[in-house]
Every structure is written in structure tokens, then in C-alpha cells.
Symmetry: C2
Subunit: 378 residues, 2 copies
């Protein structure tokens, strides 16, 4: 969300759904750049803020949004109530900054829904068993929403974002992206793990495990988005039964640094709180691909743990092709190599349903465009 | 299937289901070692049999099973009919030995079912648009069965095999394997791609795409097996909603050779007809992990394509941990490294829901046991 006007828009939208007879729980994230600003303030005070206090600070962001949204609804004459993560019963482990949900105990939400209220919940935050405030790390608000929807056995969890759905590739970099109406959990998971920012893998896994349909929609247009669900449309839509071996979507990730340390240092790494995009362990070395914005933090972390940094490669990126069966023979990887013949491909690996291409960050966009053109096209 | 007695057993089982009012299509594979024997005979004649003639030869295997099974049913007084892959309308591309299903047009099967007949189909085989007989490669019989079940909109596709289900690890090597009652497609896919021999990834992908429940069962005991389906039991079974980040099963693969060739030779590889377990492309080299039994064949293939073999490492293996969320932080990989501290781990990589460990083939079983003990236990 970006502004008071947007909050009013969203309140109207919620009001309309409520009047149509739905029971509604809304999970909010912090507005616009709030989280970044709070972060910035902490870092003006200290280079290495304690994670506990950071969590206390950051959770103010959602608190602002939820109370403003509740006020907007009340102003329009609706009965609403806002809850923090703790009040909502989001119980987590004690890893500040990157906590994992251990259980959901949202009886207060159920009580208020029963009273006919619209319930607004602060996403991204929880409470540990020691009653400390925690945050859920990247994708935290989506995770809260999906976890609550599972607990409440909701029909659907709608995730409002700044894009109107999941595309075959990032619409900002390919000329002819196609919006995907329905995507199955497994392929969405591969996209989410590989750089698609639309949904966090945690939310997709949650949805998958509890069989909850997720819909990614635009918070600006409210139009139909992309449904992530059990993929069953094909049986009805087509008469032809055939083996699908094609690239369905392309994810990418730019701006990574590659850090190399001695392999013996792996035990320390479980204490690293931020995301690791990919890792690889070889005979001697442990290689980490981490977003460049964490550069000073990872260096400090290594120093604290007395780990020698053996090498850094800056400005790396990945392009990831996602599709069932694309590794059942080498046709698609061979074609990929042909398409990228003039690019500086550094490494290609693969998993069940993806082909991962490592290359310099500044060649990522070009490569996505070329591959989208060949494998997905118009 | 292994013997005439087994065929009679299976005929009785089919008869019982038929009498219970089911419409049944049975897809058979070749009996016991038939395929190996036919292969052996071809290789006694020539070191490099043409794939077209090999396909013609190998498809005799299922033809024997299907006619014997049909005879057994008829002997018991039932009306049955057997069809080859071609008669069943399994239309494939023209890649002999590793053909892909382009479409299914099984009107003859529908006609016979309508007449009340039990239909028996030769698995593993199809026909190209040029009317040549093709085979579907590894997992071909499963693929035929699943493709037909999708076409026929069957309630379920039961896959009878020599094990009674999918286990948390290979029951032959861990002391306390647990049978998995229900597994979702995505995790089954990760297992199938990573060495679990119970189901071929092609069959799992087919089932997933067309939302068909697969059940892996024992052809000896006929007891309940493992269902591969949309994973929805959890919502009902548990009251606690939580983030699942645990190892659910362990796959492994022994007896691989690692071949290294210059990267520039990738275009030739799409002509390699057999399975490549894993591949990896680095700055200069292209690395292939291929089952050792194909050693002479891959060497011949490289020679034919004038590709220099830069290096071979023999007796390599993989152990693969599968589970949702196991890469969301590095705890599980760090724990894996601890558990395997005394093993010669050569490389660790990861995908969305797996951690892949490369190590010498003779350390695979030990490593699976140790990891199963720690991550899955009793």
C-alpha cells in the first residue's frame, strides 16, 4: 500500500465484499517505504542493530497500516478491529528477523468474525513462546495471510500486490509477456524460489500443503489475477492428452554477489539471518549467492565468526527456465545454449523442473528476452 | 510380472475387480528379464543395433505378456482383448528408444470397454505419425498407463510393482523405513527425478498435469500402497497450522560415471538417446552423470560425434533429501554436513525442495542410513 488514498480505496473494496455477505480477514503489510525508512533509522544509530530491537521497531510498520485501515472502515460505518501478529496468535520460533511459524492459534479472530466484525491483521509479525515479538523475514506478510487462511479454512487467499498476476516473464523486461490465469503449486514454487517476486516460496508451500487456492491480484485494479491451485483445468480444456515438455515461464534474479569461503565453515551459516539465493558446496569451498545489498552485513558476519573470505565475484545473476519435463532430454538445454551463444554463460544446472543459468548480472535482461522470444513467444 | 503363475494371480485379481462392476484397462510391461534378454540377443549380433530394429524387437516383450494375460482371462471365462501400443492409439514422435507421446487416440479401447470387455494394452510402446513402431524409454509402461488413464478420465491409475509403496528411503538399505500413505505430486516428482525407481518422473508429471491419482501397489500382495495425489489430508488431519520444513524422504542413486567434455559440444547431446541422471555446464566443460552400464555406449556416441572425452570419474553416487522448505534456511544443509562429516562429500547442490549430495558410489548406502536416522528416524 502506498498512501491514505489507497487505504480508502481498499477500505471501499473490503466494504463491498463484506456487504456481499463474506466474512473477511485482511492481512496488511507496512505502507510503501516504511520498512526501509525504519531500517534506515536503526542503521543511522548503529551499524549492527540487535535483531530483537529491530523486530520491535519494524513491527510498527504494519501497526500503522492496520489501524489506519480499521479507522477507514469505521469511518465508512463498518465494524472492524485490528490485531497485531501476537494478538492474532501467530506463534513462531525465536529467530528474530527470520522466524518460522510454529503454530497458529487465532481464536480472537474467530470470535470477532462471529460478532460480524471485519478483522485486520498485521502481517509479517508473530510472537515467540517466550512472548518476544518476532518478524517472519522476506515474504512475511504473504506467509501470515496464507497461514491464517489455512487456519480459518478460507475458500481462498487473495494476495494484493503491485502487479496484476504472474507472467511468463517479468513484464518490465520482455515485450510480449503473457499473464498466466492458473498455475499449479509446483511450478509457482519453482518460480518463487528462483527470483519471481510476486509470491514468496513460503506462502506457496503453505498453500500447497493445506490445499488453499491463492490468487495474486493488483491492489490498484482489483481485476482477476493469477490463481495458484491444483492444476486441473487441462483435462477439461483439451481433448489431446500429451506429454508436456515446454518452458512455461522464466524467472530471473539480478544483483547477486558470489562469496566463497572454506567448506569447513558451514556450521556457522545457520546463524546467517538473511536469504541465501543459492548455495553450492564443493570439495573445498562453500559458495553463496547473496543479494549485493547484504554485502557489508555478510562481511561483518564472516568477520564475527572468524571466517576468511576466499573470494567474491560481484554482479552475478540467474535466469531460470521453469516447466515440466524440460530436463527429460537435453533438447531444451541445448536450445538454451544456442539462444545464449553470445552471452557469457558461466554455469548451467538443473532441478526437476527448472534449468538454472548463471551469468553476469548485466546480461540477465537480454537473456530473458531472448529465451522468452524462443520458448514462449507471442 | 515374473511368471505364468503371477499372470494367473493377476488375472484372478482383475476378474474380481471386473465382477465388482469396474471397467478395467490393464497396461502390461514385459515379463521379468525379457527386455534384457532381447537386448542381449541384439547385442550378440551387433555392437550398435539400429534403434528402429531394436524397438521392433523390444516391443515383442509386452506383446507376449498381454496375449498371455488375455488368454488367462479368457480361460477363466471372461471376455478380454489385447492391443499393441499402436492399436491403442499411443501416437509418439519418431525418436526410437526414447519417444515422447504426442497424443492419445484410444477409440478402440473405448469401443471394447463399451462392449463389456476387459482391455489389455502393451505398455512402453507407441507408433509414430509415419507408422513406425517406437518405444517410450525408461518408465515407458508407467507412462502408457498414466496417459491412457488421463485419456479415459479414469478414477485412478494403479501401478503394480515389486514394492508395496513409496518409502521414506529404500527399505533395502535403511533399517526403519516408513511407508508413505499419501504423497503429493511435487515431492514424488523430486523423488522420481532423483533416483527413486518406484515411479518414473514422466508418469508423475502426466498425473499431475491431468490431476489423476496414482497408486503404487505391490503386484504380489495387492495391499494398499502409496497414493500420489493432491496433498490435502493435512488440513483435516491436524489442528495445528505450521510451516513444514523437514526432510520427508531420501532418494539415492549409485553406479554413475561422470563424463567431462568440452562445453562447445552441447549441440550433439540432444541426439543421445538414454537417460542423463544429471548434467552441469561450467565455463569450459559439460559434465554428465550417466549410469555406468551405458559406458561403452556413451564412449561410442562421443567417438561418432568426434567429441573428445576430457575426463571420466567412475563410481559416483547421489543422495538426495526431499522436503518442502528444506532450503529456506541453511539449518538442514549444515546438519547434513555434520551427519556426513566422515564421508567423502564431493559436492552439495539444491533445488526448490531438495538437497543433492554427490559422493563416491560406495558411500551412498551408509550416507542414506545416517541421514534417515537423523532426519526421519523411527
Amino acid at each position: 500500500m502506498g498512501s491514505i488514498e489507497l487505504i480508502r480505496n481498499i477500505a471501499s473494496k473490503i466494504a463491498a465484499e463484506y456487504q456481499a455477505g463474506e466474512q473477511i480477514v485482511i492481512v496488511v503489510s507496512a505502507m510503501g517505504k516504511t520498512t526501509d525508512q525504519l531500517f534506515g533509522m536503526a542503521y543511522e544509530i548503529t551499524d549492527h542493530p540487535s535483531r530483537r530491537e529491530l523486530d520491535m521497531l519494524l513491527t510498527a510498520g504494519e501497526r500503522i497500516t492496520m489501524s489506519l485501515l480499521s479507522l477507514s472502515l469505521q469511518e465508512e460505518g463498518f465494524s472492524s478491529i485490528s490485531f497485531t501478529g501476537s494478538q492474532s496468535g501467530i506463534i513462531t520460533d525465536n529467530r528474530h528477523g527470520n522466524a518460522r511459524i510454529l503454530s497458529v492459534n487465532a481464536f480472537r479472530i474467530l470470535e470477532e468474525l462471529d460478532k460480524g466484525k471485519i478483522v485486520i491483521v498485521a502481517g509479517f509479525q508473530g510472537v515467540s513462546q517466550a512472548k518476544e515479538i518476532t518478524t517472519l523475514g522476506r515474504g512475511g506478510s504473504d506467509t501470515t495471510a496464507v497461514a491464517l487462511a489455512c487456519y480459518l479454512k478460507a475458500d481462498k487467499c487473495e494476495i494484493y500486490t503491485d502487479v496484476d498476476g504472474v507472467y511468463t516473464a517479468d513484464p518490465r523486461i520482455v515485450p510480449n509477456p503473457q499473464k498466466i490465469d492458473t498455475i499449479d503449486y509446483a511450478q509457482m514454487l519453482a518460480l518463487a524460489y528462483n527470483g519471481s517476486k510476486v509470491l514468496h516460496p513460503r506462502a506457496v508451500e503453505f498453500g500447497y500443503c493445506y490445499n488453499l487456492t491463492l490468487e495474486v491480484k493488483s491492489s490498484f485494479t482489483f481485476g482477476a489475477g493469477t490463481c495458484v491451485q491444483n492444476c486441473r483445468e487441462k483435462t477439461n480444456a483439451k481433448d489431446t492428452i500429451m506429454e508436456d515438455r515446454k518452458v512455461n515461464a522464466i524467472a530471473h534474479k539480478e544483483g547477486l554477489n558470489k562469496y566463497c569461503i572454506a567448506r569447513t565453515h558451514y556450521p556457522a551459516l545457520k546463524h546467517w539471518g538473511h536469504e541465501i539465493f543459492k548455495y553450492q558446496i564443493d570439495c573445498d569451498s562453500l559458495i553463496l549467492f547473496i543479494e549485493a545489498k547484504y554485502d557489508s552485513e555478510i562481511r561483518y558476519f564472516l568477520q564475527q565468526h572468524e571466517i576468511e573470505l576466499l573470494g567474491v565475484d560481484q554482479k552475478m545473476g540467474f535466469v531460470i527456465l521453469v516447466g515440466f519435463g524440460i530436463n527429460l532430454d537435453l533438447s531444451i538445454v541445448a536450445q538454451t545454449m544456442e539462444v545464449l551463444a553470445t552471452q557469457s554463460v558461466l554455469q548451467i544446472m538443473h532441478s526437476e523442473q527448472s534449468i538454472e543459468i548463471l551469468l553476469p548480472s548485466d546480461e540477465v535482461c537480454d537473456s530473458v528476452r531472448k529465451l522468452h522470444d524462443v520458448f514462449i513467444g507471442e
